[in-house]
């Protein structure tokens, strides 16, 4: 192989997409979700019949339009599942392991959100209660990162 490489030069045809970036719109309920998060200590869910869905998706499973309902972030949520990340995308070891969890506000709400949990790996478990740590209101941008992380409820 190395001999062949020395004798022949294989031309390369590089590709670099001219699309530099994507700028998405949040959607109808997405806009409410982030507006609420920015302005209040709450998010919104979609109410379809008696069932609440998070994150809100505008449309219900039966194709009707869902109602926007606020869900407070001040109450404890529980950990439905979690993972502990030890390496970054490039395989470098993280200084401190990072915990990502599926967090659900109440038993009878369908869905939840994924977010960081600030805890030691040995402290974390399914079913533990956590509370959102929000950025100060003046620093919020209407993004999911307006919630800095969730922390264990003592």
């Amino acid at each position: 192989m190395s001999m062949w490489r020395k004798k022949c030069t294989t031309p390369e045809y590089p590709g670099k997409m001219e699309t530099e970036k994507y700028v998405y719109t949040p959607g109808l309920h997405g806009l409410e979700f982030f507006k609420t998060l920015k302005e209040k200590d709450a998010i919104v869910a979609t109410k379809c019949g008696e069932t609440l869905y998070i994150p809100p998706t505008t449309l219900c499973p039966d194709f009707s339009k869902g109602e926007v309902v606020e869900v407070p972030l001040t109450n404890p949520w529980y950990i439905a599942s979690y993972t502990i990340v030890y390496e970054d995308m490039d395989g470098n070891k993280l200084d401190k392991p990072q915990i990502l969890a599926l967090l659900v506000p109440e038993e009878d709400i369908v869905g939840g959100i994924i977010h960081y949990v600030k805890a030691e790996p040995e402290e974390i478990d399914v079913g533990l209660m956590v509370k959102a740590k929000l950025k100060p209101r003046e620093k919020r941008e209407g993004k999911i990162t307006d919630i800095e992380y969730f922390e264990l409820v003592a």
Binding site: Y13, G15, M17, E18, T19, E20, K21, Y22, V23, Y24, T25, P26, G27, L28, G30, L31, T57, T58, L59, P61, D62, F63
Partner: protein
Amino acid sequence: MKPNIHVKDKVAIVGAGLTLFRRRMLETSRELAWEAAREALESANLELKDIDCIVIGSAPDAFDGVHLKGEYLADGSGAISKPMVRVYVGGGTGVMVPIAAWWHVASGLCRTVLAVAEEKMSPAHPHPQGVFAYIWDPVVERPLGPNLLWIFALEMRRYMHVCGASKEDIAIVSVKNKANALNHPCAQAAAKITVEDVLNSEVLVWPVHRLDVSPVSDGAAALILAREDIARKVTDTPIWVEGIGWTLDTTHWYNRELAYPRYVEYAARMAYKMAGIERPWKEIDIAEPYDPFDYKELHHIEGLMLAPRCQAWRLAREGYFDRTGELPTSPSGGLLGVGNPIAAAGVMKVAEIFWQLRYEAGERQVKKPVHYGVAQAWGDLMQVGTVVVLSN
């Protein structure tokens, strides 16, 4: 329908829905799909539970910037827990959607199909042209830095040369379609303009000026197709799918005569044969040929055999294709007037024929009586033709 193929069940379109076509819609892709799908269901007096199968059409994932776009659109298209397929043949996708929906029903596999097409071109920055750049051959074309407008300009110039058409002759189509769109409630680029306005608009890639081109759009469109017995139950005015056809040519687009879309003719012949149409120029009452550029409408009118080769521009000058003319084309306003969210634009054209054949097009309704209509889309690397023939 002539029995040149075995068709188990006759198929009708019984409902249609459309969102606004705009440059940057707040709605997500799946919300757009849902709005169009809901409107189509309501217009057919059906609910999602009445739908057996789903067909989704959307152009490259790279436009919306969401991979697995068919799957992403699934809940907005009503596809959760139902058999779903996504079809994609570039710009031809919009008419491929009802074609695929037709074979689902005609085969006996599904009684009803919700067919949804969606495109959101606005997320790609700085311009969705950057996505189009990657349709080229990476070895012999892309190193030259081609732009989609280039090949349209080359094809337009070739059509002008072979057929003796001038820029003015071609601009008539843009003037007609943008004016037709003034009566379309979803239109993005409706306008009352003159041939001079087209000629005086910014030159993008000569001979293509800005007003020769359809806009960048977000939008969705949907149709409901049903088996004959169900169609007759839900409506007194089912619109029958009489013929379908589609053909693909090679991506070596410069290896063929650019002045004539041979692949559109082949697709049209397939659809006409199935519909029992022998003289389309006499038997077709109304047409929605694909018009991303003004010359493309003339090109496709000829490919659909609605005018002799190189004669479409002469007939356009005489008003033959006007809404009040002998054979109205793009009475909706077409892509030039209503907008061009790629796959959704093709379904919009089929929906227009559906509304026209039901005499439900309101101010857009053509003056003549209509019995047979044809809708067509075109795309990929100037190589695919998709055709649907409908009747009332």
